[in-house]
Structure formats: C-alpha cells, structure tokens
C-alpha cells in the first residue's frame, strides 16, 4: 500500500479528475487485489498487476456514470457546443492562430500539463471520459462504444466537441503567448 498507493492514486486522478473518486478507486483496487491475491501469477510486476485492476475499476465507473445520463441529451449538448464555435454559415467565430506544440518541450513542462488538466476539467464528465479513453489510453473506438453504451455516431460527436474545445482552450491559455 505504501509502495504503490501514490502511484495508483495519481493514475486514477489523471483519469477520474476527482480526488474522492480516485481515492475510492484505489481502495477498491487494494481490496480486489487482496481478495484475488492467489491470482497474482508474478508474471508482471506487482505495480502493473495493481494498475490493471485499477483500470478496470475506472472503466466500471465510466460505464456506471454513462448509464445514468440520457445519451440524447448528451449528444445535443455536444452538438450545441460544436455549433457555438461557428456562425450561421459555418465560419469560425474566432480564427485559429498559427501555433504548433513542440512535443519535447511540452513533455517536460509541468505548467503545460497543468493547463491541459484544467482544460480537460472544463469538458462535461462523459465527454471527458470518452476523450480520455480514446486519446490518452488509445482504446479502439468500438471498445469505447461498448464501455459507454453509445453508438459510433455519438462517439464521433463527443470526440469532435472535446477536440475543438481543448484546441481552443490550449490556444487561449497556453499557445497565445507563443504565437504572438
């Protein structure tokens, strides 16, 4: 627990973005690991094994959360958010500035990840969950649809909203200065 607790907590927090939920997920993980300790074959490291259990707990949470919400409402909300970026003839209200992140530079930059974290927090929970599974965990689209109980079209709308919003948020809060 002392050895892996913080690692698991940060892993969960990065995905769930809520300290209380992350603590619960870690607790459930340790309890499940204790229960199933005879199943630990020692093929992977203890940390990898625990992280695998934690991932399942996190996806379970996403699934439960997705079930509580009407997907139609969600889709409308995402579509409205997408519409809000454009005028009536489909021109963006705010023209994108010309910037490009340098992967090596931003990777080591704590402030950049903090800005990204804040931008992710501004997405509605289900949209963020879908986006995290797709773009951070790189799950296949069909697996995410199964996890969340949504159609491919729903998924595309949610991902598109998340991408547009994140792009804009990073531009406003991070790349604005570098582009000027």
């Amino acid at each position: 627990m002392d050895l892996h607790g913080n690692h698991l907590y940060r892993f969960a927090l990065a995905r769930l973005r809520n300290p209380e939920l992350a603590e619960n997920a870690v607790q459930e993980t340790f309890l499940a690991a204790l229960k199933g300790r005879h199943k630990f074959a020692g093929l992977s490291s203890e940390r990898t094994w625990l992280t695998g259990i934690l991932k399942h707990k996190i996806y379970d949470h996403f699934r439960r959360h997705a079930r509580e919400i009407d997907v139609t409402d969600l889709k409308n909300d995402d579509e409205q958010a997408i519409d809000s970026f454009y005028d009536h003839i489909g021109r963006p209200h705010q023209l994108p500035r010309d910037w490009l992140p340098n992967p090596r530079e931003v990777s080591k930059n704590k402030e950049f990840w903090q800005v990204l974290e804040n931008c992710l927090k501004k997405l509605p929970p289900n949209t963020a969950h879908v986006f995290i599974q797709r773009e951070i965990d790189k799950l296949a689209s069909k697996d995410i649809c199964k996890n969340m109980g949504i159609t491919a079209t729903n998924l595309w709308v949610m991902l598109h909203r998340a991408r547009l919003q994140l792009r804009q948020c990073l531009e406003d809060n991070w790349f604005k200065e570098s582009a000027e």
Partner: protein, 91 residues
C-alpha cells in the same frame, strides 16, 4: 469528375475529426482536400489537432513522473482509511 463543392470550415473540421476515427469516403476526402487548399486557418487547425493527438498519450506519464508531481498524493486520512478497510477484510 465533377468539381467538389466547397464545404464550410465547420464541416471541414468535422471531417478532420472523423478522419481520426474512420476511413473517409473518396468524396469526403476530396471535399476536405479542396477546402484545405483554400483555407489557411483550417490547415493550421488540422495540424494542431494532429499534434495534440500525438502529445496526449504523454499526459498520464507526465502526471505520474513530473517532479514534484502535478497532483497531490493520497492524503494521510485516505491512506489510513484504505489500510483500515484492508485490515477489516483480512479479519
């Protein structure tokens, strides 16, 4: 072949996003290409969306390894609670 109809930035962005999820049809590809050929801002936007896709998988690693970590560690109270739960289960 008929000249592709010029699509709006809104439709172009939707196609950019979907190109990450599925194979666009030949007609969709043509429409997107034709739009990008005449729209600087969408070209910049497409480059940015692609670049963000490459950076995002580093997020978790960054959160886990940047020193000092971005996020806090488990609070002492949470640690105590989890240990207590584990002990209860052992009994």
């Amino acid at each position: 072949m008929k000249e592709p109809q010029i699509i709006s930035c809104k439709i172009a962005a939707k196609l950019m996003s979907q190109s990450f999820e599925r194979q666009l049809s030949a007609q969709e590809q043509l429409k997107l290409k034709a739009h990008l050929a005449v729209c600087n801002t969408c070209r910049a936007c497409y480059r940015q969306l692609k670049a963000l896709r490459n950076i995002l998988p580093r997020y978790i690693k960054a959160v886990l390894t940047i020193d000092p970590p971005i996020e806090l560690s488990l609070s002492p109270q949470a640690k105590m609670r989890i240990k207590q739960a584990l002990r209860t289960q052992l009994i």
